[in-house]
């Protein structure tokens, strides 16, 4: 990841004049954390979301909880888990639910406030493709597939998407395949199937942050330090709208960086 040069950010310019340089991962984690304010339960895999939730727990949102698709709730791992298949996530957790309970009762039951997803492609209204590049029958590249993403999209109150590479092949006008549909396309294609949740409200990329407007369209809300709105528009496959009052993404604060580096991920497992 390219390190960004730290610059005083908008909200904490005075305090952070001496903030150190930060990496893209640190920025993504800190930004994700801020958007989690007021959230109770996050459904996420391992990686940047883990850092964001851990940071929120240690700063703004001590009661926030991460629920893993494996069924683990209220994890208290003695060290940062290396993979979702880390035994330390299970030991000492508050609950390990069965898979029918986790996917049926917790996820479909509407208990998740924010679901974190990644994808190979995202479109203007936040539909995601994680199945295939090219044609499904004879793919150019076979991707892993939905996993739980289709359920997370359909059932979380809102969804955050982290995209490490913002470019026109990932932010596309039209998906090659729609694995996890936005509520908008869901209602359009299957109007009688009740939708719950707002779909993708927030996309955090290496260039900036997109937020959904009232129609669900993803629009540029902030640009990261050193990035221009034009650069983001150029890197986006659809005509990207810019929200009024576009600002620069606040940089990680010294306190956030300290927590991430020295308490949460001292081994730099995810802070690559």
């Amino acid at each position: 990841m390219t390190p960004f040069t730290a610059l005083p950010n908008n909200t904490a310019a005075a305090d952070d004049a001496a903030a150190p340089a930060y990496t893209s991962s640190e920025l993504l984690a800190a930004v994700s954390c801020r958007y989690l304010q007021g959230t109770r339960r996050v459904f996420a895999g391992i990686g940047l979301p883990t850092l964001a939730v851990a940071l929120a727990q240690k700063s703004t949102s001590p009661d926030i909880e991460q629920v893993y698709e494996s069924g683990v709730c209220g994890a208290h791992p003695p060290r940062l888990p290396e993979t979702i298949a880390d035994a330390s996530l299970a030991t000492g957790a508050e609950a390990i639910l069965t898979m029918p309970v986790l996917f049926g009762y917790v996820l479909q039951g509407g208990w998740i406030d924010v679901g974190f997803l990644g994808a190979a492609q995202i479109d203007r209204f936040g539909s995601l493709n994680s199945s295939v590049i090219g044609d499904w029958e004879s793919p150019d590249v076979r991707l892993p597939g939905s996993g739980g993403a289709a359920e997370v999209m359909a059932n979380s109150a809102e969804v955050f998407v982290v995209m490490r590479r913002h470019n026109p092949t990932s932010f596309v006008r039209e998906l090659d395949f729609c694995t996890s549909p936005s509520p908008r396309i869901a209602r359009e294609k299957d109007p009688l199937v009740p939708a719950q949740g707002r779909g993708v409200t927030t996309v955090i990329s290496d260039l900036g942050v997109l937020k959904a407007d009232e129609t669900g369209e993803l629009c540029l809300a902030t640009v990261h330090e050193g990035v221009s709105a034009g650069q983001v528009i150029e890197a986006t496959g659809w005509p990207l709208k810019v929200l009024p009052g576009l600002s620069v993404t606040p940089a990680p604060t010294a306190q956030e960086l300290d927590l991430l580096r020295n308490e949460i991920d001292p081994g730099r497992v995810y802070l690559r």
């Binding site: 298949a85 035994a87 004879s138 076979r142 939905s146 996890s180 209602r187």
Partner: protein
């Protein structure tokens, strides 16, 4: 007493046939690698592999030519990198390529649930607007008889020929107990016509009966119980051994090169003869660094009549 204890060789020979639909389950945890290897050793072909998360063991089975079709929800894993045998088999296209039937996690889990519960289909709360129903005719809509203005997607029951699972322990009657991440094993076992359960250890009846709520699959739903220590390596068994992340990271390079993959299968599957041979080849000190410190559950009191 009904004989349930088998060697892994005999269990696979008796209960897994060419052309079978095989549910090989375990969600990150308790993946029955040893059974996958034994299926390769015995040269099974034409299998339909059902697995929510086809990963290295699926790549090995596909690479060995055992699998014609895969029913799945997520294949690959960020810490594995690509599964090249599967990708080659899928991206090849045309005759001889690996057929796919694609779901999301709960869609496939719900197929097991319906299969286990003897109902024709199970409603799920997803798939509206998705492309998946266009490529998978098993994702269909039904109108609610309680509100004609409401539809739901449903998936049909799935009843594999055989389920293969791994667990921490069982008694000789096949009562299977596991803890940690449980995955879809209970559903897969009840949905399947036959069930093979691999366990780290077969324990005295009294151990199982001291904690009956821990039994995930009762003996009557298990056809073969097989004691296979370290049978889930390189995946993990909560409380017994951690995941071999080194192996996971190494796999992509092996799988990328068909000759290297074939050599690996020869060396680690065929030439080892059986899982004991595989463990012996890993070496006597191999599992020491992967063995966790004890962290015991607080016993609960079931109570006994006075």
């Amino acid at each position: 007493m009904i004989q349930k204890q088998y060697s892994l060789q005999d269990a696979v020979a008796e209960f897994v046939k060419d052309g079978d639909t095989v549910a090989l389950e375990g969600f990150t945890h308790l993946i029955p690698f040893a059974a996958g290897h034994e299926i390769i050793r015995q040269g099974r072909t034409g299998l339909t592999l059902v697995r929510m998360t086809p990963d290295i063991v699926a790549d090995q089975l596909v690479g060995a030519g055992a699998v014609d079709k895969m029913i799945f929800a997520f294949t690959g894993n960020s810490s594995v990198g690509s599964l090249y045998a599967i990708r080659r088999a899928v991206e090849a296209g045309g005759p001889g390529s690996l057929a796919l039937e694609e779901y999301s996690h709960y869609g496939l889990l719900a197929r097991y649930q319906a299969g286990a519960a003897g109902i024709p289909f199970m409603p799920v709360r997803s798939y509206a607007g998705s492309s998946l129903p266009e490529v998978n005719p098993n994702l269909r809509k039904v109108a609610s008889p309680f509100d004609p203005g409401v539809e739901t997607y449903v998936v049909p029951a799935l009843n594999p020929d055989v389920a293969i699972i791994h667990a921490q322990r069982a008694d000789r009657h096949g009562n299977i107990q596991s803890w940690g991440i449980l995955g879809p094993q209970q559903e897969a076992a009840f949905a399947s016509k036959r069930t093979i359960a691999l366990v780290e250890e077969i324990v005295p009846d009294e151990v199982i009966r001291s904690d009956p709520n821990r039994t995930a699959v009762p003996g009557f739903a298990v056809d073969a119980v097989v004691e296979v220590p370290y049978g889930a390596h390189p995946s993990f068994v909560q409380g017994y051994y951690d995941r071999d992340n080194t192996f996971y990271r190494s796999w992509s390079a092996i799988s990328k090169n068909p000759e290297r993959l074939e050599a690996w299968l020869q060396e680690w599957v065929h030439d080892t003869g059986d899982h004991a041979g595989y463990v012996a080849k890993l070496g006597p000190d191999f599992f020491a660094p992967l063995t966790p410190e004890p962290h015991l559950s607080t016993p609960v009191n079931y109570g006994s009549v006075r």
